[in-house]
Symmetry: C2
Subunit: 492 residues, 2 copies
């Protein structure tokens, strides 16, 4: 007889009924071929004795398995594994003991576009000059948690906890409309707003809806890498145009428009990713005019509008778009914290409707509870207050960081002090290999990017982005000292 006591471990603390545990285990044993077809099982009394449980529990399990067709009960003979089950053919299944784990590799092949296979930057508790992350230690988490709980407390309505509006919670969209109007002059109504998980989802959905394979998409060179990945995955043809001190070269864009139909222009006017340059007012207007004239979509990703230090930020393109050419993207990733995944698209209602249809098949709906919690923070001007405070701190950190870079790294690095944003676009001296530098820093406990992420196609990379917002002055001191130290070892 098989060692049933060992084969059928029971967990008396589990919420799962004992009879269910027995039945589940027997099924697995049958599937694995350990209990072959026509095997006779011990009688219910004997089995109960073996497992030290009540006989009724065994009978319940046997009855259930009989009903399901795994076992047959032959009168006066006993209980058997059904013979009508097909042979569990593969030999290895039968000879092996119960698999300790799942397969380590799929039993079939598949391919993923090579360029998607990228390492992803994560926050850590280590010292890091990142891509331009906000300092989550400043985030108003206590208040958010309070709101979250209070939303849940009065959310006995099905509406809030159930399947909800794919376009986003209405109260959130109302508050966001007010906020967008007051903070950046965009005259949006709730029906112009679509809620996403963040700007990446927004760009993805828009690429799926607005682009067809081989459509021309114009971007800066360099450009926000995730956007490039999304457009390439859609099968679009990427045209990369120069970015100078005033942003995307609109003359070059007009030239392109004359040569071939351009379907979309992707811009991060405020501030360009990764170089941090602000698109000038003049070029913004030209861009709008070109869009109207040539009929292309302007995709305006305004990911760090809130952080501008050189006086007043320039209003977004969307604020002056009467012709419906601009699709505006924003998110709370930088203004609260990346963990709270709420972003949005502002666009004419016919596009909002299409976004809802497509979003339905990639992510049924957003997080209604979180959206309501954030909406309450918008309604009470709490986010506005938080941003005012954060902007002041980041402004100081920018100044401190730029000073440290100049003092400590001297001629080894050059950069323009950014008017806004959370990072500095640095250029290291030609003699310095950025990968070696980054590796050296990592050994000393500082994480920095080697710049390759931003310029995947350049033969040699001299630029990288160094984020300052998430580091305190003391952390910047330590970090820049590490770069200084590693640089000293690199210079011959």
């Amino acid at each position: 007889m098989l060692p049933y006591k060992t084969l059928i471990p029971l967990d008396r603390q589990s919420a799962t009924l004992l009879s269910t545990q027995i039945a589940n285990t027997l099924i697995r044993l049958i599937r694995q071929g350990i209990l072959a077809a026509n095997t006779k099982l011990p009688g219910s009394r004997a089995m109960a004795g073996l497992l030290d449980i009540h006989r009724k529990t065994v009978i319940a399990a046997f009855d259930e398995l009989t009903a399901q067709g795994w076992l047959v009960q032959r009168p006066a003979q006993g209980t058997f594994v059904s013979s009508e089950l097909p042979e569990v053919a593969p030999r290895q299944l039968r000879e092996q003991p119960a698999p300790a784990g799942l397969a380590v590799k799929t039993g079939y092949a598949f391919r993923i576009r090579e360029q998607l296979a990228l390492p992803v930057l994560k926050n850590t508790d280590k010292l890091m000059f990142d891509d331009g992350f906000p300092d989550v230690r400043l985030a108003p988490t206590e208040q958010l948690a309070r709101n979250y709980r209070s939303v849940l407390r009065r959310s006995f309505q099905q509406r809030l906890l159930g399947y909800a509006d794919t376009n986003g919670d209405l109260f959130f969209r109302q508050q966001l409309a007010r906020y967008l109007h007051d903070s950046r002059g965009i005259p949006a109504a709730p029906e112009h707003i679509f809620t996403t998980r963040g700007s990446v989802m927004a760009i993805y959905l828009l690429a799926r809806i607005l682009l067809q394979p081989d459509d021309v998409v114009v971007v800066g060179k360099p450009n926000y890498r995730s956007a490039n990945l999304i457009f390439a995955e859609r099968g679009a043809r990427l045209i990369q145009l120069p970015v100078d001190a005033h942003g995307l070269d609109v003359d070059a864009l007009e030239e392109q428009c004359r040569q071939q139909p351009v379907r979309m222009v992707f811009v991060t006017p405020h501030h360009h990713h990764p170089t941090t340059v602000t698109l000038s007012a003049e070029r913004r207007i030209r861009l709008l005019q070109l869009a109207e004239h040539y009929g292309f979509v302007v995709l305006e990703d305004d990911y760090d509008y809130d952080f501008h230090y050189a006086g007043s930020p320039i209003l977004p393109l969307a604020s002056a778009d009467a012709a419906g050419m601009v699709v505006y993207i924003g998110s709370f990733t930088k203004s609260i914290a990346p963990a709270f995944r709420v972003g949005y698209v502002v666009a004419p209602p016919n596009l909002i409707e299409a976004l809802g249809y497509y979003r339905r098949i990639i992510d049924r709906q957003g997080d209604t509870v979180l959206e309501q919690a954030i909406a309450e923070m918008l309604a009470g001007d709490d986010i506005q207050r938080h941003l005012k405070k954060a902007r002041k701190i980041y402004h100081q950190r920018r100044d401190t960081f730029c000073e440290l870079l100049r003092e400590r790294l001297g001629d080894a690095v050059s950069f323009t002090v950014p008017d806004g944003g959370l990072a500095v676009w640095t250029r290291f001296d030609d003699s310095i290999d950025l990968s070696t530098l980054a590796a050296g820093c990592l050994k000393q406990g500082l994480i920095i990017g080697n710049g390759r992420f931003y310029q995947p196609d350049e033969p040699v990379v001299h630029h990288t982005r160094l984020g300052f917002a998430s580091s305190t002055p003391e952390e910047m001191e330590r970090g820049t000292r590490i770069i200084q130290k590693v640089l000293a070892t690199l210079v011959p």
Copy 2:
């Protein structure tokens, strides 16, 4: 002189600096052509008087706009709108006042696959026999809110609030691995688990990674509609095979496999959506054998494993998959509430890695805080306890509902009592037009589906799904009485 007092409204309660408000408004006026190139502005003193503010505030705004190139200050002449701005050409922009709102329609055309343009079922506070939603009034929200807050309280680490692991929080994956093992015999380790927002995102990602256009995907007829939409959007060829009382017809599947390469078979074995049928143990084993033999992927969407009333549920296919042919999908949508969007994929690590690469471009990461809050509920067996309670309640509701259907609707409706799940698959008498019935019920305050959603291609629809889990016995009483009443008006 222009009416600056009216053109530049100031909000003294706003968190935005007054100088910023002035600058933003002036930019908008310039963009809209209300302030044309070379227009002379009032002096700072005059403007301050007009707007009733301090002169320094006006100077700050003018200086900022000068720095940005919107204005020029000519010594001894005053401040002018820059002449180097291009003419804001389109006439309608100049003649119109400030646009009161954004465009109502995009300035360009686009198309979306027609079949995606579907109405989406939502929870409401109205009486509804839905698609099989859980009763969110039973959800352990108080505890979830407590956990959420406590996670946030001790989350001063960058790790939790910042950019996180695209594959999902490690603690969550550890607890989920234990839960999957204990509750359904799947020997998953954390590296076999990928966290999503729910099963829809899981299916979408898998379709993108595993399918190529024209790949053959076998599904039941009828089938979970969202899955069909996703496969069609991917360009796959859908083969719909019959579903009988034991689930998908595996003989027909084998026949298909002999005729052409099948890339994927999508199943909801436990219980089939929408018919609620359980895939028999025998067919599960045959399906695994066919997968190994013909090399197709089995996509097992186990969306309602937790709710089985006819004794022990049959273990998932994934529990017996030694060859890496099965991809398993689950979610907490039904087991907690749809608002808490956490789902998962269980698969070999090479596929998990690819899922991470692709997810990065549709939704950077999940909700780490929510994942941790749920992980704590798994660790404390709280979800298990909740499920035990909910299962008991839903079991009773199923019985009550089936009894009411029989009693009240008699011969007008036929159905098999489902072994599990949250809905009954009903067939109404041929003489009844389901759309008329649904419309009549809606007028009386009851929402039911007309069945078209589940059988989009059938010329006439007689089946629909009636969810019972989200209604109390009293609500079922009222609801079935409404159906009864409306039916009486339909019978000639």
